[in-house]
Amino acid sequence: MNLKKIILFLIVLTFAFNGKSQNVPGYLGKRAFLDYNFTSPFLTFLPPSYTNFIHNFQFNYVIRRRSQIGLNYDFFSLKETNDDDFSFDGKLKGSSIGINFDWYNRRAIAPIGRYFRLEAKYLFGNYTHTFWNGTNFETEERKYTVPTFAFGLGTRRVFFDRMVYNVGGSVGYAILNADEKSSNALDLMRFTYFWRMHMGIGILLF
């Protein structure tokens, strides 16, 4: 089932569950929401960050008064800039899927308020890089599967009783093998995932 079908299905669910809400935690009884987050590394104005955005979709479900769990899906196309005349910009394309657990501070009721997040993802990347090997140009291509963990915090609000807005940041870590640690691709990945901020908009479903 591709991503577009998943999103369509969830949108249909929103309207299907638009009846009178029950007495449950959440916002007016609604516990599930879907949002899109635009993620950028910190210090966005410094290269190479300004082109390296990550698009993130999340489905969150409030499980208790101050906590929620979620599934998230990222996709990205990261570029690195080389000053070397003998190599061309490397590109890391890929996606990740993960789960997250958010908990809100004691004065909040999910999903409104400040929250902390623990996230675990599996990152699937395809790195390509063209370089001069002394004789001709060679294109390197390599696949990566990297688990990452992140800790984040943010603030979430609701507008018009349906739209969800959130902003925040996170600090993460990619678990790499010894031989993977020094590659350009993983430098890029690490830099992009290590310390990032996000802003997102979403919709309450049911």
Partner: protein
Amino acid sequence: MKLFILWTLLFISPFAFSQYEPIQSSGDIPKDLTTPSYIKYQQELENVDRSAKRRTRKNQKEFFLESNYAIDDLLKSGYVLFNDPVTNYVNEIAAILLKDDPQLKKELRFYVVRSASVNAFATGQGIVLVNMGLIAQLKNEAQLAFILAHEISHYKEEHALEFFLTSKEIDRKNKRGFLRRRDFNTTLAKNQFSKEQESEADELGLELFLKSNYNLRAVDGAFNVLQYSYLPFADVPFNKSFFEDDYLIFAPDYQLDSINAISQKANDDDTESTHPSLPKRRIAAANIIKNQSNEGRKDFIISESTFKTLQKKARYELLEYHLRNYEFYDAIYNSYLLQQDFPEDLYLKKIVAKALYGMTKFINARQFSEYEYDEKDLEGEFGSLVYFLNKLKRYELNALTLRYAYLLKNDFSDDVVFQNMIKDICQDFINIHGGTLKRFKEGRPSKSPPSPLTKPAEDASEEEKKKYEEIMEKRKENSRFVYFAFGDLLAQQDFNNLLTQCKNEKKKLKKSEESESSFLNANPSSYYSKGKFALGEQKILSLNPYYLKLKKGFEAPYLIQTEKSQNNFNNTITKNADRLNLKVIMLDAKDFSKKEVEAYNDLRDIQEWFGHQMEMGEDMEMIAFNQERINAIAKKYNVDSFLWAGVVSGKVPKSVVESFWKLLFNQLSWLYDLGSPKGESIIFSIVLDSKSGQPRMATFDLVEYIDHKDVINQRVYDILGQIKKRK
């Protein structure tokens, strides 16, 4: 002769014994109470003097804003009566005074306030308020007319606005100097100005009064009323026999030998007063009227009997006001005074029972000190009653209260609340003084002194000495009057059943006390709701939802925004209740239409009751004095609980350090904060059981946002959800 007078009074009295009901407002609710305050403010802005300096215009606007909201708070508090016999009478007298000035008559509105204090005042908006306590004290219609004329003059000369502007000017000019000296100087200056205004109101009021046909002697009479306003409306000697009967006799030293005489001389020093001294006012008034003829002038133009009837009503009204304010001594003494004319009036006896009950509850909970009077500070016969009540020891008061209330049991057999009150008194007695119960005897106390007993000699046997001690101890016990308080009741099955029931309850209470813990967490560090309540209600009554928007730093309120937010808050409650299928009946003083006078009266009673429950806190449980009416209201609306919810919100300054770190490490968060005001809100709710007054739910959340719509919506939904949810 006495019987004849009593019969006559019975015949002409507008209220039957034991059936007195407090005065209610009726008819259409006046515009003064239904028009939103911000609309009144906007209308008043047209009165700003455009030719005045900018500072003056600003002060005028400030006055119109603050005074409108302050007056409206009083008007919508439930303390103000309209379209009742007393208010209508006051309006009739005002009409006599203003018959030559129809324009002024149109501008002025007169209301009576449900307050025991002896006072009347006029506002800049043309509202004249007369306290019920004043009407209870006056001797005739003419005195009331003079006081109204005085208040009308205040309005006519715009004294309220003038005083406000002058005070501002005085404050501005006295900014220099040491703080204490500055405060003293400004207070003196303001007092001086106020005195000038009062003198002017006396003078112009007299001019208006002179145009009517009222007796000029009423002017001095009115000053007498003001001079003795701190005293009850009559000064009848109190005798302890009021509480005595064949079984309950108090020792002679419970009767005060000599009282403090009522001071005949008014204080001439008005340096620190806002009003000129009474002697000065009398002299000034006498100078004005000395050349006026009093021929043909009357004490009553409308009707003497109407005045007396309504004054009696006012005096009856005071009884509940005193109970409401925990002025138990006043309630008992005033009831005592009224019982001189109506000795068989069960309502008056019920008031005494309620006052004794209240006093007993506070004393048992050791919380009476702030309501206690000292007879040494009092003048007149009232001091005797205070002395008597203060002389009673705790268990003596408990026994007196139980006996007094129990003897009325059959007279109020249909009154469930009164029966519960008797049980509560008995329960308190058993809980606190149950150990002394075995000392209470059947039979009457001996009125004749015992025969003298010779003390055994030093060399008498131990047995003789012991026997002597026993007899003396027994005589000492027998001389304690209180041990015969239940002398007749202990022979009655019903009374014994009641005692047994209370003893059993005491045992149950001991067991449950160990396991119960209060859900009302007063620890400020845990101001957040855990969402654990589940009341299972289908319907609830919401009274006066509260809203307050404060300026930065949580100092002064935004008055207009508060009012508008208040209206939105009511809608928020209603909408969220609909979402949950919970029926909410909204009683909000700011939201009544003119035809809803019944709801207005209901709200008034519930507010007083609610206020009483909040006063009680966790340490005391006491049946409210108007519980019968509350039961009737709850039955009428078919609800078991009342909800009071509210929001207090204010902005706080943003932290520069926090903004800096965000700019450095998370520009998106920084951008978000830039557009988002920082603030804090408190969202609270309290649900009380309508029968017992006990809290069924209390939530208190401190939220780190100003009152954003989503935050308020979510919290209100959460509160109502907990009310709806079943366990």
